[in-house]
């Protein structure tokens, strides 16, 4: 996979590939017109890089860095950031506090490397005072967060980028179906003209398998959340890399991977994350939500 964008003609469609958001990304355009497909792919590629740059927490030149390092000062935000915060708030409320974009800080004391090193209880207690979406104060133009706290849009940004790009494709070419696949998070702009669905390979959720899984998708979104290679194992208990923001402890007995099909990629991604947070009840949660889903549980023990 190249970091730079490459565009190539495939059988009946045109594919663009690049590396961004720590993932292999591909854009498939249901057209054989290289000029139009090229324009769409380049435009989406630009959009993807824009979102990555704006919401990555590994950069020092973006709004996330500004907010996280404001030391309790008020920071101006734009409409897009406000809307993302609003969605995060909705998720926080719907999940009764379990989906929390301020919980990333807990990761400091946990290293999920498959070992049996659990975090020190005291360290966890200290960090918990810096977690809690309800401690944020934001409106349409600004946000204030307590010093020491940090936002992490990692659980939303990639899926958001996928949907933004799919919508952009629809606006650019309403008649052409475009599939956006950023590391297995997928959205399709509209159904294909001459074929029933797109077929794409995504990495197998089980890291021990190096084959791709073929996914057929006609429209809507698909997203996967998982911890297949990020977990701790102690005394026969599998600790997920997903942390409970109320206790600071990992969720126990979560599936290794949850894939959800939804109206759009962001919705699917949020549902799959919420399912992981349910631990052993993940499948039941998804059944209750009546969404199409696939849960993988691995028996490494």
């Amino acid at each position: 996979m190249p970091v730079e964008l490459t565009i190539e003609q495939k059988n009946g469609h045109i594919a663009g590939r690049f590396f961004a958001m720590a993932s292999d990304c591909e854009i498939l355009v249901d057209s054989t017109d290289k000029r139009i497909a090229g324009q769409i792919i380049e435009s989406l590629y630009t959009e993807c890089l824009r979102i990555e740059k704006k919401y990555s927490r590994y950069r020092t030149d973006n709004i996330v860095y500004q907010i996280n390092h404001a030391q309790s000062a008020r920071v101006d935000i734009d409409t897009e950031t406000y809307q993302l915060l609003n969605l995060a708030k909705t998720c926080y409320e719907l999940s009764e506090g379990y989906f929390d974009i301020t919980s990333g800080i807990l990761g400091k004391v946990w290293s999920f490397d498959g070992s049996d090193c659990l975090a020190d209880k005291k360290d966890v207690e200290e960090l918990l005072s810096l977690v809690g979406f309800s401690k944020l104060n934001f409106d349409q133009t600004s946000i204030t967060i307590p010093a020491g706290m940090a936002l992490d849009f990692g659980g939303i940004a990639k899926e958001y980028a996928v949907d933004r790009c799919a919508n952009k494709a629809l606006a650019l070419a309403p008649e052409i179906s475009v599939l956006v696949n950023y590391g297995g998070d997928i959205a399709v702009s509209r159904p294909r003209l001459h074929s029933a669905y797109w077929q794409v390979g995504v990495a197998h959720p089980d890291p021990q398998k190096d084959t791709d899984v073929l996914v057929q998708i006609a429209q809507g979104g698909l997203a996967t959340s998982g911890d297949a290679n990020r977990f701790l194992l102690k005394d026969g208990v599998r600790y997920s890399h997903v942390l409970d923001p109320k206790t600071g402890q990992p969720i126990i007995d979560a599936p290794a991977s949850v894939t959800v099909a939804g109206d759009n990629c962001t919705q699917a991604g949020l549902l799959s994350t919420m399912a992981l947070l349910q631990g052993k009840n993940a499948e039941r949660f998804l059944v209750e939500q009546t969404v199409k889903h696939w849960c993988i549980r691995l028996s490494h023990l």
Binding site: L214, Q216, I217, G220, V291, W294, I296, S299
Partner: protein
Amino acid sequence: MKNKMKLALITIVVSQVVGCASLGVQPWERDLLAKEEMALNAEGVDLSLDDHIYFSKEATSGGRGFAGGGCGCN
């Protein structure tokens, strides 16, 4: 033993993802079935008018729905 279980589990999941093993469709494949004209009771007004005519002209009624006609025409 445990290893075997894992293999079986993944095979099922993968075949579901590929969506070729079982009767029916995935939610994102409902684009055609979701069309108004694909509903089994599409054109409901026409169907009930037809039912009324045939109920009053033939010995058979119902099938699609209940057989009662609600009129004295038979």
